[in-house]
Subunit: 387 residues, 2 copies
Amino acid sequence: MMAYPPRGFPKAEFQARLKRAQKMMQDANLSALLLTTEPEIRYFTGFLTRFWESPTRPWFLIIPLSGDPIAVIPAIGAHLMQQTWITDIRTWRAPDYTDDGVGLLCGTLVQLTERDGQIGVPDLMESHVRMPLSALRELENQLKPRQLAGDAAIVRRLRLLKSDAEVAKIGAACAIAERAFARVDQIAAVDVPLSQVFRHFQALCLEEGADWVPYLAGAAGQGGYGDVISPATDTPLCSGDVLMLDTGLVWDGYFCDFDRNFSVGKPDGTFQTAHARLMEAVHAGLALAKPGAVISDLFHAMNDVVNAGSDGSDAGRLGHGVGMQLTEWPSIIKDDHTLLESGMVLALEPAVATGDGLLMVHEENIVITETGAQFLSDFRPQALREI
Amino acid sequence: MMAYPPRGFPKAEFQARLKRAQKMMQDANLSALLLTTEPEIRYFTGFLTRFWESPTRPWFLIIPLSGDPIAVIPAIGAHLMQQTWITDIRTWRAPDYTDDGVGLLCGTLVQLTERDGQIGVPDLMESHVRMPLSALRELENQLKPRQLAGDAAIVRRLRLLKSDAEVAKIGAACAIAERAFARVDQIAAVDVPLSQVFRHFQALCLEEGADWVPYLAGAAGQGGYGDVISPATDTPLCSGDVLMLDTGLVWDGYFCDFDRNFSVGKPDGTFQTAHARLMEAVHAGLALAKPGAVISDLFHAMNDVVNAGSDGSDAGRLGHGVGMQLTEWPSIIKDDHTLLESGMVLALEPAVATGDGLLMVHEENIVITETGAQFLSDFRPQALREI
């Protein structure tokens, strides 16, 4: 039995996140941040629940320019929010068809900010505002002359760099997934429907310690597969198939995101060639992954191996950040010039075309360290897994 | 082995949904609908993937006033969208840091609508716009003089009434959950940590046929629990605990959402009294659940049993719709006057206080029929389940 890191974070970690945010807010001339989505709110509070699956109720967290965060949330969440380090918790009994929190939110923001204040809302790529558009427009009206502005990428800049405690949680998720991948030969064989492989693989992830398995994609086919986002069909595995499973399982609110390819029976030449190319691409990416390099360096290093002379594939990128979400900034594309820093966690995800409309994808998770990068997943370049 | 209904829907069902939408659009003077979220897009296309877990890329579906829907989506989704009945699929290679789909979306909307057209976007409760706020604002600018308006509740009005095929999928999800609940005594016992019960219960759901288990909440405690949205802790079950498990598992894209309470060892008097009250409340709700009644009738019938003289509890409601999402409109509250119609699927979810800050919740799923209502979950009022 592997030893897990502790659950949750010490209060000091949340206080440090808050302090960094408030410094950036000052620099960006923002009087407050208004956060509405699950990872944004959890990042500053530790509020962890699967209840976000219900779209009914909006949830709000305010980061003031000084002082602790203020939760403005439906009453159903008060008990759980009280278990976090947040003490200023203002609730309404949602759903309320007359005013579903906008009045309470607006009143709180008005208390906290000057009349000419700018309130930052995450507004850039990978974000959205999780509240009804009509409520957002009502809030903008009520707040005047205060204005809703962008968040100056503050949330992105903060979450991009993971603490040691965060990296340990992602590492725990990776280790759980590796143990499940090591048991795929127990659940996959010729004639087993892919849908059954999916169900059983998720059960393996849970048995091995996952809290839950929000993401599983995959495919099986002769010589490759058509895409990497499809759900499973009931088609049985055939001898000669390439089987790919790509999981984003969660441990204590943090994801891993990587895949493994398996050969059903003896691998054919296409598989072996593609596999070798993908391993080479991961090596090429890893070799450059260290503080001082930029994300586009990793793109070019991998792309030159798998896709020489092209801008990239339909997937649009060769990897991305990983953390509180299955995928996070940055995107490993030629136009991303984010400077690598210690604490960034990335999925390297090269893809290679294996035939007409077919591809193979390999994915590994790494963390950038002071001196280079380390695998969080268990990269085994020699292993062509046969089931 | 139970017989499952067929996966997917015949093309005729999507065409009927489209036709109803276009009739409502005409009545509301909308030139197009713009949809951005998973259930909205899946409702009209059948596009089913867990890839929405990745927040990186925006996805768009346009419902024109006449003609078939048009998908404006990242290239990574083209292969899967081509498997649906949608033929007009326009893609860009996302993520694109210069223009992440807004130009393509705007150009498509301009082609389809008059200069003074109103484009409807779902904007009411339970909705949000899944694209970055900066991109939404850019779209509004580029579309001028066309305007983004609300969707006149069209999406809500359509999805509120389930077809027989949709009800069959929800029924399949309910049956899977019942089979898993029937096996809880295999995984829960004194000294087993609640977190392990959660992991094993999800595995049971998968074994019994769930495609995935997006939602599991629950709690255990002496005489009740503090809330119904918390994740599991590692605290072991104790004799005398009430254990509650509440699952929203998915079969072919449709949820069930109901819970079961178990007594760890012999149930005490509090549990028995609360259980009887909850059963009575479900009966009272069911008795009124038929076409012609309104949702607030169900609220009052249940609330009079569990919460006489009060407006309701912190949960804010005594049930809700169920379907493509864990929770959907309507909310069973005193202010909801939605007329019940055949094809509505509801969770009846009365809660009763059992002590200082403690409660017990019971939940069942029903479908409204021409003559009344039927349980989709397996309501067994006499059974006090003991483990």
